[in-house]
């Protein structure tokens, strides 16, 4: 075990997600997480057998080469023992030539076989690992989103990062070392038996101590490791929390409090680490006792056997040297048992997901005829909670733009998610383009509907690759076209490497507004008949929100749009407004109709327009009512909105143009 064992970290393992997963089972909203399944022992073994079966020649070859290599290596000790015998027997120096040649030959052959064996073991391990992770991702990405959300996204992320990393590390470091050590131990014991069976018995005297030490170690180490994982996670969490929020820390003068929190977390991590080290050192210290017992037994046995003439002094020397050379392999193998245990646990977590049933296939080959959406008697509730939606009816014509309006908790987002197929409705039906979603199947629904939520994610890699996720076969011209359609081409081309700029985690950081722009460009590329936009502009700040609303309007051209409206002008610009309250549709109609009807929407609108005019202001000087009529707004927006993307993306741009 040398310094080379230190491993490289993957480029993007979001520790925070992982830590969140570690921190417990209950989420912020108090519900218990339904973690994704973990495979049982039999299931894991079956999966491993299936995978190994495809590589059984490779596996057999690897074991064979390693056995041969180790066997050759074990010839060193008897050869040296033979040299001692030659000395004791007063043979001439010329007798040493043969042992010399043999020793060198053994060294070279051992090196060659060792190299070949390691390479084969690595090949086997890496191939299996690649197969497992590919199978895992394939299944994970197709899991029903509802299932993933129930488990918390941290669960999947932690499996794909830390569990894969644990297995990879075991495959790359522990597996070769463990195989080598185990074989060395095994063959050395065989060698001892060949010298004299009583040497083997003497060597085995060390075993009880070793067994006890390992049991002592595993029992104590596992909980401390788990605790350490939590403590370092908490420390990293705190660092990200404090450093990420440093402006807030300074503004509110929280420096001392956060420095104190850091000290607590850092100190806790240090203390747990020291406890872990205490156990590791205690373990090796205990193994020293086993070493002594074994070594003393070897010397004693050698003494007795030489005295009664059963073996030569050379054989006794060889036995002692054999045992002395066992110290390291034994230490390594016993220590690595722990690694093997964790790798097994991680493997079970991967297989648990990889063996989940696939998504239900579509019931029929029907495809939506158009972009119409029909929702009938829809009801939904989360887990055992109260109903979030009840009896919702909604009929959206193809190409229509419908705004969902309502206070927080009215059910807008839930309705958007249910229509997008993220949640399966508890009751009622949804049909897209005249086809029931149950017939379409999840895949068909996703092809028909694109949902852009407030959550934005920029996929790591070149910008163009991010866009191509929406349409893999898109040409560069098409990518540019899509960016241009949403008004994002200008900033995208201004990036350091244009569309080839590496963005996302570890790459060029895009602003929230840019990321949302990108999401709209993906929508244009994916070109679904129905698009659902949920608060996609809320986080961009007030000036940014307007640019994004504009981009969204352009991205919706030619498709049905269902948008969760946050700002009333968004609603006013839609073809129809649907007002939700307490999970029910309470009003529906055009902006003008609803304003005229004097219901809830009218109240909202008057609050909004009052605030715009200020309560007791005189009537505006211009005869035109302050709110621009919806129709005008869209057209005006498309034609001569001065708020180009520059205003958000390139802050240094000048002020707004005056009409």
């Amino acid at each position: 075990m040398t310094a080379a064992h230190e491993d490289r970290t993957g480029p993007a393992e979001p520790g925070t997600e992982r830590d969140r997963d570690m921190s417990g089972t209950s989420t912020h909203d108090g519900t218990d997480r339904a973690l994704l399944p973990t495979a049982g022992g039999a299931e894991s073994r079956a999966a491993l057998r299936t995978i190994l079966h495809g590589h059984r020649l490779l596996a057999a070859g690897a074991v064979l080469v390693l056995v041969v290599g180790t066997g050759i290596g074990l010839l060193t000790a008897p050869l040296l023992g033979h040299v001692v015998d030659l000395v004791v027997d007063q043979e001439g120096p010329r007798a040493l030539t043969l042992p010399l040649v043999l020793l060198v030959a053994v060294a070279l052959a051992r090196g060659a076989a060792g190299a070949a064996g390691s390479a084969l073991v690595a090949r086997l391990g890496e191939t299996v690992l690649a197969a497992v992770r590919e199978r895992f991702i394939e299944r994970a990405l197709r899991l029903p989103l509802e299932r993933v959300e129930a488990a918390g996204s941290g669960d999947l992320v932690s499996r794909v990062t830390s569990d894969v990393a644990v297995i990879a590390k075991s495959v790359r470091q522990a597996l070769p070392e463990f195989t080598r050590s185990a074989l060395t131990i095994l063959l050395t014991l065989v060698g001892l038996a060949v010298l004299d069976w009583r040497f083997l018995l003497a060597a085995l005297l060390a075993v009880p101590v070793q067994v006890l030490s390992v049991r002592w170690y595993l029992r104590r180490a596992a909980p401390v490791y788990a605790e350490h994982r939590v403590a370092t996670g908490a420390l990293q969490h705190q660092l990200l929390d404090s450093i990420g929020g440093v402006r807030t820390v300074r503004a509110f003068r929280l420096n001392e409090r956060h420095t104190g929190l850091l000290a607590d977390r850092s100190g806790a991590a240090r203390d747990v680490a020291l406890r872990g080290l205490h156990i590791v050192t205690g373990f090796f210290s205990r193994l020293n006792l086993a070493e002594y017992i074994g070594l003393a037994a070897m010397l004693g046995t050698g003494f007795l056997l030489v005295r009664n003439g059963s073996v030569s002094i050379g054989t006794a020397t060889a036995a002692a040297l054999y045992f002395h050379s066992l110290f390291n392999p034994v230490n390594a193998a016993l220590f690595l048992l722990d690694d093997a245990q964790s790798a097994g646990a991680s493997f079970a977590r991967l297989i648990g997901v990889a063996n989940l049933p696939a998504e239900p296939a579509p019931r029929s080959g029907s495809v939506p005829a158009d972009g119409s959406v029909k929702v009938t008697g829809l009801g939904h509730a989360y887990a055992d909670g109260p109903p979030v939606l009840s009896g919702v009816d909604l009929d959206v014509h193809s190409g229509e733009r419908v705004a969902l309006v309502g206070a927080s908790g009215a059910g807008k987002t839930t309705l958007a998610k249910v229509v997008a197929g993220v949640h399966t409705p508890a009751s009622g039906t949804i049909s897209l383009g005249g086809v029931d979603v149950r017939e379409l199947g999840p895949e068909g629904v996703r092809r028909a509907v694109t949902l852009i939520s407030q959550e934005v994610h920029v996929f790591a890699g070149p910008l163009a690759e991010d866009l191509r996720l929406a349409r893999p076969e898109a040409s560069d011209a098409e990518l540019r076209g899509a960016l241009d359609a949403v008004g994002a081409l200008e900033w995208a081309e201004a990036l350091p490497d244009g569309l080839a700029t590496v963005v996302g985690e570890g790459g060029h950081r895009l602003t929230v507004a840019q990321a949302q722009h990108l999401a709209l460009a993906r929508l244009v590329l994916a070109d679904p008949p129905v698009a659902i936009l949920d608060e996609a502009t809320a986080d961009a700040g007030s000036a940014g929100a307007r640019v994004l609303e504009e981009a969204a309007a352009r991205a919706l051209v030619g498709r049905t749009g269902l948008l969760v409206a946050h700002r009333l002008p968004q609603a006013a610009a839609a073809d129809r407004v649907v007002v939700l309250d307490g999970g029910r549709v309470v009003e529906t109609g055009t902006h003008d109709e609803l304003v005229a009807a004097g219901g809830r929407y009218a109240a909202l609108w008057s609050a909004w327009s009052n605030s715009r005019r200020s309560a007791d202001a005189p009537a505006p000087a211009s005869a035109e009512p302050t709110p621009v009529p919806p129709a005008d707004r869209t057209q005006a927006g498309a034609a001569d909105d001065h708020l180009s993307a520059d205003a958000v993306i390139r802050p240094a741009a000048g002020g707004p143009g005056r009409r």
Binding site: A107, A296, A407
Partner: protein
């Protein structure tokens, strides 16, 4: 008992590597522009301080470690002696004596190993802990500067990975000392057995290690690059899974799976190349070591045959030759750790030495109770601000409207004294901000950003963060005014519900309401709010707007926003355009008379 893994390695192997190794994206190390670490520590100093701070531990661990390694070196000597004087002669008394000696030896070496390793690792952990605290304090310093041009992830990585590496010098140093001790003891033992044989071993090992190093260097470099590319697959997978909702939203699972498979296969190919390199390297070292041991054995046999050494001496020499590889490897390992620690220390020193963003003024503004809170900007030039004159009289509620986010951003920087303006000045009650201590200044002036971060604490603790301990009334008033009390009512434990990191468990609007409550609860003489309600629904926004004036009565408030609901509540609105003040007046007045204002605010 040669190259027993050091606890550092084994622990890293078992725990550190698996759990402590902080899984962070490899952020590209950002180049410091125009920053010369002046007056701060250098990398060398950081390293020396890490060791000096653990002086006692380093010294005692070194002494114990030297004893341990010395004893380890004696084990083959004792084996040889036992064979010589007991096994070869058949003297049971002699055997018992040597077994007793061996027992004492093991007892001493085991005790010394355990104690020394614990102290040495403790030194490393304590040193890393100290560095983390120092880095934390520097980054959070009120004068700022350390976080400029550095991403939080990069700083976190420095505070964890780099701090650990630098701390580890305090661990590695005792190991290095112990290795030298072992080398010395073995050398003496070998030379006492036979001068020629001893010289052969001692002079043979360095070239052997050098040769091994030469063989491994290009291989290692290659395998490192390949390992990195292998690690890429894990990054791509994590990224795809994190973006699962977005992927599902656009139905791109198939495309993503195909992409991942390509990455995974590339990564597999790279990993296999790396593994082959490593296997070749290991094989070569194995062969070299074997040849070396053979040479020692045969040379010893010649010497034994001509009677210059005994059989036991021969056994001891072979054992020592085997053992010596261990301390030499330990030295090489210490050396490599030092090299890594130097690079880490440089990164830490850069952070510690980064110049403050603003120079701390000495003066203390009048306390919130006595100071009037009159804020004034005179001809301020900073980034997008090209000569801004603004006057926020004490107790006023003023709106600032700008459609240029950069202007808003730079104005906030200047008001919060995160940066001092390039030209002109900002005054608080007639005193230039540059003369005020930034931390004291923030007792009077609070700038609340629209994307303000919440912390992982209960909602109530978040809101109370900036408030005086006795200000329960202010907190309640703030909760009500910002409607954060309604947010709390929806949470399972009400205001005591612990928010997730960054408040992610809340929706954007809920976050803003809690952040606004916190800003109001702090009850500073001057409060600057930037777009506090962009994610809040219209109904709630108008309720907040209506309460804002009351809760800030008698104190100075600046609202940088384009929200008409908020602007309608202000005494006066100033419009920034093209980096200067373009218009000013009452909201109602501007709405009716200023077309550009109407576009900016009402569109």
């Amino acid at each position: 008992m040669d190259s027993r893994p050091t606890p550092a390695e084994t622990f890293e192997h078992g725990m550190d590597d698996r759990f402590l190794r902080v899984a962070l994206p490899n952020f590209p190390q950002l180049r410091m522009e125009g920053h010369m670490p002046v007056g701060g520590p250098t990398g060398g100093l950081v390293l020396r301080r890490a060791i000096r701070g653990q002086r006692r531990r380093v010294v005692s661990a070194s002494l114990l470690g030297m004893t341990h390694q010395g004893c380890e070196a004696l084990v083959p000597v004792v084996i040889g002696a036992a064979i010589d004087t007991a096994v070869a002669t058949g003297s049971a008394q002699s055997l018992l004596r040597w077994l007793l000696v061996l027992g004492v030896l093991f007892l001493v070496l085991s005790t010394c190993y355990r104690t020394s390793a614990r102290i040495a690792e403790g030194a490393g952990e304590h040193a890393a802990h100290r560095l983390r605290l120092e880095l934390g304090a520097r980054v959070l310093d009120p004068r700022g500067g350390a976080d400029a041009n550095r991403l939080p992830g990069a700083l976190t990585s420095i505070a964890t990975n780099d701090a650990r590496r630098v701390g580890s010098v305090a661990t590695v140093l005792p190991y290095g000392c112990a290795a030298i001790a072992a080398l010395t003891v073995s050398a003496v033992a070998l030379l006492r057995i036979s001068v020629p044989l001893g010289l052969l071993v001692l002079l043979g090992i360095p070239p052997l290690l050098w040769l091994g190093h030469r063989i491994s260097r290009p291989l290692e470099r290659r395998s490192e690059a390949e390992q990195e590319s292998a690690a890429h697959a894990s990054g791509v997978a994590a990224d795809l899974v994190s973006g699962l909702r977005v992927l599902k939203g656009m139905g791109a699972e198939a495309a993503a799976v195909a992409r991942y498979r390509t990455t995974s296969q590339d990564s597999l190919a790279a990993a296999l190349r790396a593994a082959r390199s490593r296997a070749g390297h290991e094989g070569a070292l194995l062969a070299l070591t074997g040849v070396f041991i053979a040479a020692i054995g045969i040379a010893g046999a010649y010497l034994a045959m001509d009677g210059s050494i005994s059989v036991g001496d021969l056994v001891a020499a072979v054992g020592l030759a085997q053992f010596l590889l261990g301390p030499f490897q330990l030295l090489a390992y210490s050396n490599a750790e030092f090299a890594q620690a130097r690079a880490s220390a440089r990164r830490i020193a850069e952070v510690l030495a980064s110049p403050a963003a603003v120079d701390g003024g000495e003066r203390q503004p009048d306390g919130p109770d006595t100071g009037a809170g009159h804020l004034r900007l005179r001809d301020v030039r900073l980034g997008a601000l090209r000569g801004v004159d603004l006057d926020f009289p004490a107790g006023s509620l003023t709106g600032v409207v700008t459609r240029d986010p950069a202007a808003a951003h730079d104005l906030l920087l200047a008001l919060a004294r995160e940066t001092d303006p390039a030209g002109g000045r900002v005054e608080l009650d007639g005193v230039p901000l540059t003369e005020l201590d930034p931390d004291r200044l923030r007792r009077t002036v609070l700038v609340a950003h629209h994307d303000a971060d919440l912390f992982e604490a209960s909602l109530l603790d978040n809101v109370r963060a900036g408030a005086a301990d006795s200000a329960a009334d202010a907190v309640d008033a703030a909760l009500a005014a910002s409607t954060a009390d309604e947010v709390a009512a929806l949470l399972p434990d009400g205001a005591d519900t612990v928010l997730a990191e960054r408040g992610r468990s809340l929706s954007g609007g809920q976050r803003q309401r809690v952040a606004l409550a916190r800003a109001l609860a702090a009850d500073r003489a001057v409060l600057v709010l930037h777009d506090p309600t962009t994610a809040v629904d219209t109904v709630t926004e108008s309720r907040i707007a209506a309460r804002l004036r009351e809760v800030r009565r008698g104190r100075t408030t600046v609202l940088i926003t384009t929200s008409p609901a908020l602007l309608a509540e202000t005494d006066r609105v100033v419009v920034l355009d093209g980096g200067t003040v373009a218009a000013a007046g009452a909201h109602t007045e501007l709405v009716t008379t200023d077309e550009a204002y109407r576009t900016a605010v009402l569109a």
